[in-house]
Amino acid sequence: MKEPDFRTPRLGTESPELRERLHHIWETEPGLKGVFGTTDHKTIGIRYIVTAFIFLVLGGLEALAIRLQLAGPNLSLMTPEQYDQFFSTHGMTMIFLYALPILSGFSNYLWPLLLGGRDMAFPRLNAFSYWIYLAAGIFMYAGFVLGNGPNDGWFNYVPYAERNYNPGFNQDFYSLGMVLLGISTTVGAANFIVTAMRTRAPGMSINRLPIMIWGTLTANAANLLVVPAVSLAFFLLWMDRQFGTHFYDPVGGGQPLLWQHLFWIFGHPWVYAVVLPAMGMVSTGLPVFCRRPIVGYSVVILATIATMVLGFGVWVHHMFATGLPGLSLSFFSGASLVITVPSAVAVFAWLATITLGRPVVTTAFLYFSSMILLFVIGGVSGFMTASVPVDWQLTDTYFVVAHLHYVLIGINVFPVLGACYYWFPKMTGRLLDERLGRWNFWITFIGFNLAFLPMHLTGLFGMPRRVYTYPDGMGWNSLNMITTIGSFVLAVGLLLFFVNVARSLKSGAIAGPNPWDAPTLEWSVPSPPPPYNFAVLPTVASANPLWEERLGEQRTRSSIDRGMLLDVGKESIATTAMDGVPDMILEMPEDSVAPAVTALGITVAFVGMLLKSVWLPAWGVVWGGSLLTLIGLLMWLWPRRDLREREPAERGPADRRRLSGEAVA
């Protein structure tokens, strides 16, 4: 008997038996198979978050070392070479290994819960994305630990990165590591896009998405298109270094500026990619503590999209000082000034939300609302450097360093810490301590501003960045000392956060499903959520499904307690991209080690490529890794009956399980 190709999902309400059945279907196996094979987006999300925080700590320790070296003039805590590696590794860590992965972690964890689904569109790809991220992080840090970290700034300009000037392994570790990391980012982006388009709750039409989704979605749409630019840039650098090509080397007709173009075509959209999801967090979390929906929901979303679209056209403002033609400078300067408009829209929407709401001052609120202030400061300093003459004055000074830290800490770290206070209860079932939270917030906030507000002056007074020390008598001494003190205060603030997490994990107050009385779907499930997320799949009637009664904006109500059961197998629902009408039952894959095998194969191949210049048999390693990758991919993509990717030639265990499930029901 062949199972039907079509089925009408049964509707129902939750019951203990239903939950037990779903739990049995969805739970991750214990043991090694579960560790390496899990495809649960919640597990993967938490892995992402923990790994990214580890990198934040590593990058932070590097920053403290840098600040000690710069605490006074003519210090020699580090040699210039060591300093180069420390500040470059600090940048690489914070920008590539912390800033985006932490947001991917939150999005991985939250998306299916926000969207009312049971997992991401491609759960195995999700696991693969994490493994590659971890491998790339270890790969690049292996270089640093062996004294071969990046040493040319995070944006790694040629010709200094070329082999003539940089003969060690530093740039090979960095180049190959970045290509490896690019794979992770790209597949993650693809997964987010398809998930947002296809796996939403019934009724969640495109105008009812939580704003958090829009932030991550636009960022990842950009990533899908721009990450290849940086992967290619680093690959060509590696070719120049290892195979004598002449992409960046003027002697053979190459163009050093090609590096800058390829890097910043990626780099500037990336800046938005690491802030837009965080702005989405604020747009989702802040209104909850203002006890009202966000002001200008649609406008904020349009501003998010506009920022990203404009973000593709501003990369040359990183290259104003490279002698490009005036027309080009004017165009990119104009675009960079215009991009402040959609950013301002978001700022005014948040301010209006606070003004028109009844703010409840929690630690999460403090983080979210202070981000607005920091965003304005970072935005204004960015706006200043969008003007070509000002940029010429300020380029390569500490002013730019201050600007980028206001952007990256202000619009990434602050929202992320707010998001931790906001969503930690969902992830763990326990609240973070509010009292310790206040200490954590205020010390972090004061430390950050103490460190970086005076740094604008340091830059205006002409101190160049990326130099390991400075002479006495330039008027920079006390400013640098203040920054160093501030950086340590900031570090204490962050330490308190980790203390809070460690303590609250064990003894935090029990949260319950919805401690903040928040409106979005993730708060309708238990904390922490069960492996299947939703026992019955909700149907959504508005952007704030849990606030509909009190808002009274419409007659229809979301259906939270009654919906599709989809309990006869590992299944979820696919809906249409615009209207959110159910149009397909998704067969979700079981846990699988294929992603881990594939990731291991790719990593082995990259290690071989790294070693090939010193050890000829390394080519064998490359081939071995490629073969392992092929095996992993075949395991992964081989059409499976239980996923209905091929016709059933015969019955397998998966089918029997499905049938018995149906019989029980």
């Binding site: 190709d5 509707l11 296809r198 298109l225 229809t556 259906s559």
Partner: protein
């Protein structure tokens, strides 16, 4: 737990989705996997766009004489291009075999496209050998070999995909309904062929049109 029939009106009035008879898993090319294939193609297309950007940038800013072959010969490249484009139609012929339950046609299609792809790759190797310049000779030589090399890597991946489709068809895995792998795989092969047209135009046609001369 009652089974309920679905109507669009119910959805509007009660906000409880009461879905119709829905496909279970991918039917035809209707499935998330097909969207996944498109995202892969989007990012790969971007990669080639950056490669060609690099070519045009290097060419536009290069000194006179940057083109090592101002009149690249089309003797091998043009027939090879025609062969590759033709293989797209052959792969599509194979897909239609699956669509109409003609397994023999499907095997001929995937097998034929695979053989044509192998011939394309072999001719491309001959083309490389016939060049008077090597990878490290100049920025033109570097970008020429790296772009065509990237394309070659994509051909190899496409060949593995065609081979897999051939084997899976031989194992009688697919039907007109359950064939997402076929449609996604053939789509990828189309991409490999279409992107070659851009590479070919850039490296073999634009010099005749005067770029970087």
């Amino acid at each position: 737990m009652n089974e309920t029939a679905a109507t669009a009106a119910d959805l509007r009035d009660t906000a409880l989705a009461q879905p119709a008879n829905l496909p279970v898993g991918p039917i035809g090319r209707h499935g998330v996997g097909y969207w996944g294939a498109w995202t892969l193609i989007a990012t790969e297309a971007a990669l080639f766009a950056y490669l060609l950007f690099s070519y045009y940038y290097l060419g536009a800013s290069g000194p006179p004489g940057w083109l090592l072959e101002p009149h690249p010969t089309l003797k091998l490249a043009l027939p090879d291009t025609i062969l590759l484009v033709a293989s797209s139609f052959v792969a599509s012929f194979g897909e239609h075999g699956v669509l109409h339950r003609r397994r023999g046609q499907a095997l001929v299609g995937f097998g034929g496209a695979f053989v044509m792809g192998v011939v394309f790759a072999a001719v491309q190797v001959l083309e490389w050998k016939s060049k008077t310049f090597r990878l490290g000779d100049s920025s033109y030589a570097s970008i020429y070999y790296v772009t065509t090399g990237f394309h070659m890597a994509h051909v190899v991946v496409g060949l593995v995909v065609l081979l897999a489709l051939f084997v899976w068809t031989a194992l009688d895995y697919f039907s007109p309904r359950r064939r997402l792998s076929v449609s996604a795989g053939v789509l990828y092969w189309h991409f490999v062929d279409v992107v070659w047209l851009f590479v070919f135009t850039t490296y073999y046609i634009t010099p005749y049109l005067g770029f970087a001369r």
